[in-house]
């Protein structure tokens, strides 16, 4: 389980996160929703040790991972599938998956996970030799998720996986996210698409200008009038 305690992040003069607390218990999908610039991506980057000026603590299975190197955090079983896909454009689909498994040494298990990834996303299986740059947006997102899974994470963090995708592809991705959870992987999901996220979440946090303003089960938030007004466009 991941526990964030009193996390603060400053970018120069901007106080982007103002003391947030988030829990991601085992075997659950937790989502984090909020407007543009609320600090959602910053939260995930801070967990990965990518922002330098932060205070507070991140505990992962009761170990304090605050200030650890990104590489060691990945090694401990956390992976971030970043906002905007960020696949490697001049690496092939297969190589992109290999980069995802960069820290692993178990060749046999990696080969097996590669097959699992291709089973999960058959469209990628047809394109193993294609360069990342030439994939469609939806395929790139699938590759980004598959690449993250190649690290064999125990916590998968997804930053806006539905961004810019057609409804059908979004459905695919979300059903994969649910499958991943059923495999026992914890999921922390960031979404603009609040409805889709809350639908599959066990618990969710709402973030506003660097603070957590609301929290509750996915269902409870879906029926909360404030959430409906601000994030569901109702």
């Amino acid at each position: 389980m991941l526990a964030i305690r009193d996390l603060n992040v400053h970018y120069g003069g901007i106080h982007a996160l103002r003391g947030i607390d988030i829990d991601v218990p085992d075997g659950k999908i937790i989502s984090l929703i909020g407007a543009n610039g609320a600090g959602k991506s910053t939260t995930l980057k801070a967990i990965m040790g990518l922002v330098s000026k932060s205070t507070g603590h991140v505990y992962w299975d009761n170990t304090d991972i605050t200030g650890m190197k990104t590489k060691d955090i990945v090694n401990s079983g956390i992976i971030l599938c970043p906002e905007g896909r960020k696949i490697f454009p001049d690496l092939t689909v297969d190589e992109n998956l290999s980069v995802g498994a960069y820290l692993r040494k178990d060749k046999v298990a990696i080969a097996k996970d590669r097959e699992i990834a291709y089973d999960l996303f058959p469209r990628l299986a047809e394109r193993t030799w294609q360069l990342g740059a030439t994939l469609s947006g939806g395929e790139q997102q699938m590759l980004a998720v598959a690449r993250a899974l190649m690290s064999k994470p125990r916590l998968l963090m997804l930053d806006e996986p539905s961004l810019g995708l057609a409804p059908l592809v979004i459905k695919d991705i979300f059903s994969v996210i649910q499958k991943i959870k059923e495999e026992g992987v914890n999921v922390l999901l960031i979404e603009q698409n609040a409805k889709a996220a809350l639908d599959i979440s066990d618990y969710a946090y709402v973030m506003e200008s660097g603070v957590i303003s609301m929290a509750g089960s996915g269902k409870a938030l879906l029926s909360d009038p404030r959430v409906q007004k601000a994030y569901l466009g109702e």
């Binding site: 990965m48 990518l50 190197k69 990104t70 590489k71 990945v74 090694n75 992976i79 971030l80 970043p82 960020k86 490697f88 454009p89 001049d90 690496l91 190589e95 290999s98 980069v99 995802g100 960069y102 820290l103 690449r147 690290s151």
Partner: protein
């Protein structure tokens, strides 16, 4: 026959010096590919490799000296990266360039201090100096060895970049630092490996290059360094095959100019060639269109 007689020596010399430029140019192009930094100190690392050879050979056997020269260049290059470039990695790109220029002058000044500004005699390596004749031309062994050795090393390097885990990491890092580290790649290690390769090849290049000359002084790295840099730009900076091809083109072209009797202008000619290429194809022969980091 008359044609061969006249031109073969120049073409051979051009191929050889081209190979030597290539070994230096790879360091420029790889460092640029990953850090988007023109490592102005690279030519001086090359010069220092030559200078260290002068001192080592007085007490040590040839092969030991060569190995130590390569090690020296690697340690020098990676240390420079750690001290002068790494702390500036997130600073504006101009700062790190200025730091590189500073390191370049530091290395030259230090060489000046050590040598007292005198030209040192580069050791004559019997194997490289041996005369060989090819058809109508007589040349030195180094002229023959250089292109083959260069091609072999470039081949190994391309295999490393395309087919090994560290090579894949280098390709990933050269496109995107943040995502690479999110996947668990140790960026610092990849950058260190890049400097190891670049400096090691430059050191090998220095042995081949300086065997053509008798003397070496603190400025001896400037011109070959600049030519190699031009070769890298010519070929499309960031691209290894581009830099190698550019180096051979420049080496051959400047020797042909020498053959026509315009030796005085052979250096200037290199730059004219560069300007023309950049006017026709601003990204160089093999350059990426989008040179800025995505």
């Amino acid at each position: 026959m008359g044609f061969l007689h006249t031109w073969l020596p120049y073409i051979l010399a051009g191929i050889a010096v081209g190979g030597q430029y290539a070994l230096i140019a790879i360091g420029y192009t790889m460092v640029y590919g990953i850090l988007r930094l023109i490592n102005f100190a690279h030519g001086d690392i090359f010069m220092w490799s030559g200078l260290i050879m002068v001192y080592l050979i007085t007490t040590l056997p040839l092969w030991v000296s060569i190995v130590l020269v390569i090690l020296f260049a690697i340690i020098l290059g990676t240390t420079i990266e750690k001290i002068a470039y790494r702390p500036l990695r997130t600073a504006p790109r101009m700062s790190i360039m200025i730091s590189a220029i500073g390191v370049s002058y530091l290395l030259q000044n230090f060489a000046l201090y050590i040598t007292g500004g005198l030209t040192k005699t580069y050791p004559a390596i019997a194997l490289l100096q041996r005369a060989v004749s090819i058809g109508p031309a007589t040349t030195k062994m180094v002229t023959i060895i250089t292109p083959f050795l260069t091609i072999l090393l470039v081949f190994l390097l391309v295999m490393l970049i395309q087919h090994t885990k560290i090579g894949m990491a280098m390709r990933a890092v050269s496109r995107d630092f943040e995502t690479s580290s999110l996947m668990g790649i140790d960026i610092n290690r990849v950058i260190t490996v890049t400097f190891v390769i670049g400096c090691g090849l430059a050191a090998i290049g220095s042995v081949l290059f300086f065997s053509n000359y008798t003397g070496i002084n603190p400025m001896s790295g400037a011109m070959p360094g600049l030519k190699a840099f031009v070769a890298a730009v010519f070929g499309g900076i960031g691209s290894v095959p581009g830099a190698v091809l550019g180096a051979f083109v420049i080496g051959i072209a400047e020797n042909i100019v020498k053959g026509t009797g315009w030796t005085t202008f052979s250096d200037a000619f290199t730059f004219v060639l560069l300007i023309i290429i950049l006017m026709v194809k601003p990204t160089g022969l093999f350059g990426e269109k989008d040179i800025d980091k995505v």
